[in-house]
């Protein structure tokens, strides 16, 4: 029964995101070089690779932070390469950052509420007087935010400013804020970076739960191989800007190119996990 918890049980849906032949150069540095990946809806795909392999750059191009030099990124039939981040967010793509980017003076609740901004339609004036549509909207959004607070077990921190929270909890708040967007596609940039083992296990659990509860497509960048192998449906491996392998966790682990380029020498899975 517990086997059900691991990846691989999400029914593969339609192709949701197609990244084709995308490149990004910074001066002489080829951050991303002609990478092609397609992601099905409801999938949990991990992008791994050594430092500087171009993982975050790839994510930044999807979320509109960077403009790709060449290539196209199509999300649900819409070309998004080169779109502004706000436009990408409005289409239903949310992300978290490698370095926490919360508003530290604001409470947990307000930070998550901000994630609902995309869905708010009331104008400045009616919001200011908090009347009619604005009030109704606020209540509806708050209800959704409370669901997320419950989901991520943040009840006791609602009214706390995020600046005082432990690192692992701030990461969780960031995830909540991304989820507040009701994203179809969630980009997670090292959500477990800098966490201790217990925090990592909690976070892995939350990511899986998100994936299963709302069938949210997830692209995950993560360094902890044990976690990646455990929860991913599929893995893409980048090295020096190029995609060198793609497949199920098992296939990727056995791929000689991956072992050579990324893992260095041939290691057993246990060693990799350690």
């Amino acid at each position: 029964m517990s086997g059900d918890l691991n990846g691989g049980n999400t029914p593969p849906g339609e192709v949701q995101l197609t990244i084709s032949e995308v490149s990004k150069h910074f001066g002489g540095v080829r951050a991303v070089e002609a990478v092609t990946v397609s992601v099905r809806s409801g999938e949990l795909i991990s992008v791994i690779g050594p430092n500087g392999a171009g993982k975050t750059s790839l994510l930044n191009m999807i979320s509109g932070f960077y403009q790709p030099d060449t290539g196209s990124i199509v999300f649900e039939g819409t070309e998004i390469a080169g779109s502004r981040p706000s436009h990408v967010a409005a289409l239903g793509i949310a992300r978290t950052f490698q370095n926490i980017a919360l508003f530290s003076g604001m409470t947990v609740l307000d930070n998550i509420m901000l994630g609902r901004h995309v869905h708010m339609k009331a104008g400045v004036l009616s919001s200011f007087v908090y009347w009619g549509l604005a009030q109704k909207e606020e209540v509806a959004h708050r209800a959704r935010v409370e669901e997320l607070i419950e989901f991520l077990e943040l009840e006791d921190l609602r009214k706390q400013p995020t600046s005082g929270l432990a690192y692992g909890l701030r990461k969780r708040v960031e995830l909540a804020r991304a989820l507040a967007l009701d994203p179809k596609l969630l980009l997670l940039d090292e959500p477990m970076g800098g966490m201790n083992q217990e925090e990592k296990e909690d976070m892995a659990r939350f990511i899986l739960d998100v994936n299963q509860q709302w069938s949210t497509t997830i692209i995950l960048i993560e360094h902890d191989m044990a976690v990646v192998m455990d929860i991913s449906d599929r893995i893409a491996v980048l090295d020096r800007g190029r995609k060198i392998a793609e497949g199920s966790p098992n296939e990727v682990q056995r791929n000689p190119d991956v072992i050579r380029a990324y893992l260095g020498t041939a290691k057993t899975r246990e060693e990799v996990a350690a």
Partner: protein
């Protein structure tokens, strides 16, 4: 009594107070209310759902999780069908769970969430009688596919279908119920050996509750926060039996971590908690006082000592001088009322402490701050409680008068014996133990030694087995000394030794929060509990605390040697019970090396401890711990409070 089972009380409440609030649950940040009519409808639908799946008279239904309305409803649903509820500790490890579920022959488990469901599923192979697992919170369980795993909603929906075909089914089952039916099977936390299943009938529970209501003015408008382990008889008595009898409102907190805030929001009018909770509250209060500005701190300390002195005078029956009384009025405005508000006890008419004796100093502290704390005494075998302190007669040394309908007798060896209709039916499948505990003429041996004082108050000295004598013949009551020690904010737990020995020695576990906080203020870097406990600065701090405690102890009972244990006492390691009572014998055996070293006069001792992780894995920890001598035993300042 016309109404004689819990389900009948529920039906009565659903008719006579249909729209009054029976329960509240904080959900999504909002308190949601369930009326008695809704309470009954929920219980009925769930009972129908159980019946549809073949649950019948005599079946056992276990609940495991934090205090959730549905877990209470499930217990009542089982009782509606003539079954028995088995509440369990939510933090039990797998081996404990499997023992209880197997021993109690449980056929249905209602679990709060995925965490609990997974624990049960991992044990399923060892539990052939388990037919159905029901969960409350579906999160993370979406992809489990199994016919014997169902959501609470599913069971209720099936129940409504079943009810449409069999109108009046549950009502008829309730009418078949007898007061003598087994209502609750509660496993004692067991300060000794394996847990024992205490069988309590509807009549047992209602006798205890009725006696309590006769002694105390509990009203339908009262509010209670249910946050104590559901497996503790104190919670069953209040959140299940008393609420049904009286009709007051039970409030379930949002999450264990939010209890303090929920308490403050709600301002319950009655509260019951074991000493541990009150000790924690006091500790937190002191930490916050120590962390505040020097002005606020001195204000707090000034009014605190003023209140404690006034309380001491009142206890001695002396009048408080007018100037002090004026000070108390000022203190009420500046300190006492705000503190009560912060603790969420602003509206509390009574708060009770029970389950173990509360240290007299902690007790006096709360009373002096205007919190009407009273000791109650009882046991699981007495369906909760057997005695409580009347108003205005609350003093820390007694546990008050027995409730109406209860007889008390002191055996020749000093053991307190109780006879009433609340005395349990026996230990489940352990008739030998039952015969040892209930005499032929129906007296229950409580295992506590004590006496009845001039006012008719019961005084409990200690667990009868624990009271001993020092080598020179001085009586030695370890719990009394330990409670004195635990009054120090820096000491979380302590175990005192001294029976048949020449002096008293103690194993102390420091309080990580307060000592850590103290360390921060004194530039003391530490990494872990073990590291902190090994610091000589910390040893000196505790040594000073103990020297202070010694002042209030008779010379012979003063603590001469102690050590700081390198780990906290943990229920997973069997050192304390799930209700946080020290399992003295077990600790004495486990740490025999330390005890020997105490009395050999060794300067240090090598300790190997086994640690059990939450998932049941074990690890060993070996370290050398320094034994500290407490010098300059001071003259006792006042006569000891115990006989």
């Amino acid at each position: 009594m016309t109404v004689s089972t819990l389900p009948r009380l529920l039906r009565r409440n659903a008719e006579t107070m249909a729209s009054r609030p029976a329960m509240r649950e904080k959900n999504h940040g909002i308190w949601e209310t369930f009326s008695w009519a809704q309470y009954w409808a929920e219980v009925r639908d769930f009972a129908l759902g159980l019946a549809a799946q073949g649950v019948c008279r005599g079946d056992k239904l276990a609940v495991i999780g934090d205090n959730r309305p549905r877990l209470y409803w499930a217990q009542l649903a089982a009782q509606c069908l003539g079954g028995t509820a088995v509440p369990m500790y939510q933090d039990s490890i797998a081996t404990e769970l499997v023992f209880v579920l197997d021993h109690a022959e449980v056929s249905v488990v209602v679990a709060e969430d995925q965490e609990q469901v997974e624990k049960i599923l991992s044990l399923k192979r060892e539990l052939p009688r388990l037919r159905l697992i029901v969960y409350d919170d579906a999160r993370g369980l979406r992809h489990y596919r199994s016919a014997d795993l169902q959501s609470f909603d599913q069971v209720q929906a099936a129940g409504r279908d079943f009810g449409a075909l069999h109108p009046g089914f549950v009502e008829a089952e309730i009418d078949k119920g007898e007061p003598g039916d087994l209502a609750l099977l509660t496993y004692t936390s067991g300060t000794t050996g394996r847990p024992k299943g205490v069988m309590l009938s509807h009549a047992n529970l209602l006798t205890s509750a009725t006696g309590f209501v006769e002694a105390e003015d509990i009203r339908a408008t009262d509010e209670l926060l249910c946050y104590l382990p559901m497996a503790w008889i104190g919670d069953s008595l209040f959140s299940l039996v008393l609420t049904l009898l009286v009709g007051f409102t039970c409030n379930c907190p949002e999450r264990p971590q939010t209890v303090q805030r929920d308490l403050r929001e709600l301002g319950p009018t009655i509260a019951i908690a074991p000493p541990r909770i009150w000790e924690n509250m006091l500790t937190q209060l002191r930490v916050r006082a120590a962390d505040s500005t020097p002005f606020k701190r001195s204000l707090f300390e000034f009014f605190r000592s003023l209140a404690e002195q006034a309380e001491a005078r009142k206890a001695e029956g002396k009048p408080v001088p007018p100037i002090r009384r004026l000070g108390l009025v000022l203190g009420e405005i500046l300190v006492y009322a705000p503190v009560r508000d912060q603790l969420g006890l602003r509206r509390a008419r009574w708060v009770y402490t029970g389950g173990a004796p509360l240290g007299p100093d902690t007790f006096r502290f709360f009373r002096s701050f205007g919190i009407n704390i009273k000791q109650v005494w009882g046991s699981t075998e007495l369906a909760g409680l057997a005695s409580l302190q009347p108003d205005r007669q609350a003093d820390p040394d007694t546990v008050g008068c027995v409730i109406p309908g209860t007889e008390v007798r002191i055996a020749e060896d000093g053991e307190v014996l109780i006879r009433s209709a609340a005395v349990f039916k026996g230990y489940y499948k352990q008739s030998d133990a039952t015969r040892e505990t209930i005499t032929e003429d129906g007296w229950f041996r409580t295992g506590d030694s004590g006496f009845v004082d001039r006012r008719g108050h019961l005084v409990i000295i200690d667990r009868a087995r624990d009271v001993g004598k020092l080598a020179d013949g001085t009586p030695f009551a370890p719990q009394f000394i330990e409670n004195k020690l635990k009054f120090s904010p820096y000491i979380a737990e302590a175990v005192a030794f001294g029976d048949q020995r020449s002096f008293v020695a103690a194993i102390v576990a420091v309080d990580l929060t307060t000592v850590g906080n103290w360390g921060e203020r004194h530039n003391l870097a530490y990494t872990s509990f073990q590291d902190l406990s090994a610091k000589h600065e910390v040893r000196r701090l505790i040594s000073e605390e103990i020297a202070e405690v010694n002042v209030s102890l008779p010379r012979a009972a003063q603590i001469r040697r102690f050590l700081l244990l390198n780990k906290e006492f943990d229920a997973d390691d069997n050192e304390i019970t799930r209700t946080r009572k020290i399992r003295r014998r077990f600790v004495a055996e486990k740490y025999a090396a330390i005890v020997e070293a105490f009395y050999r006069g060794d300067p240090e001792v090598e300790v190997t401890t086994e640690i059990t992780y939450e998932d049941g894995r074990k690890a060993r920890l070996t370290s050398t711990i320094v034994i500290e001598d407490v010098f300059e035993p001071a003259e006792p300042a006042r006569e000891p409070a115990y006989a």
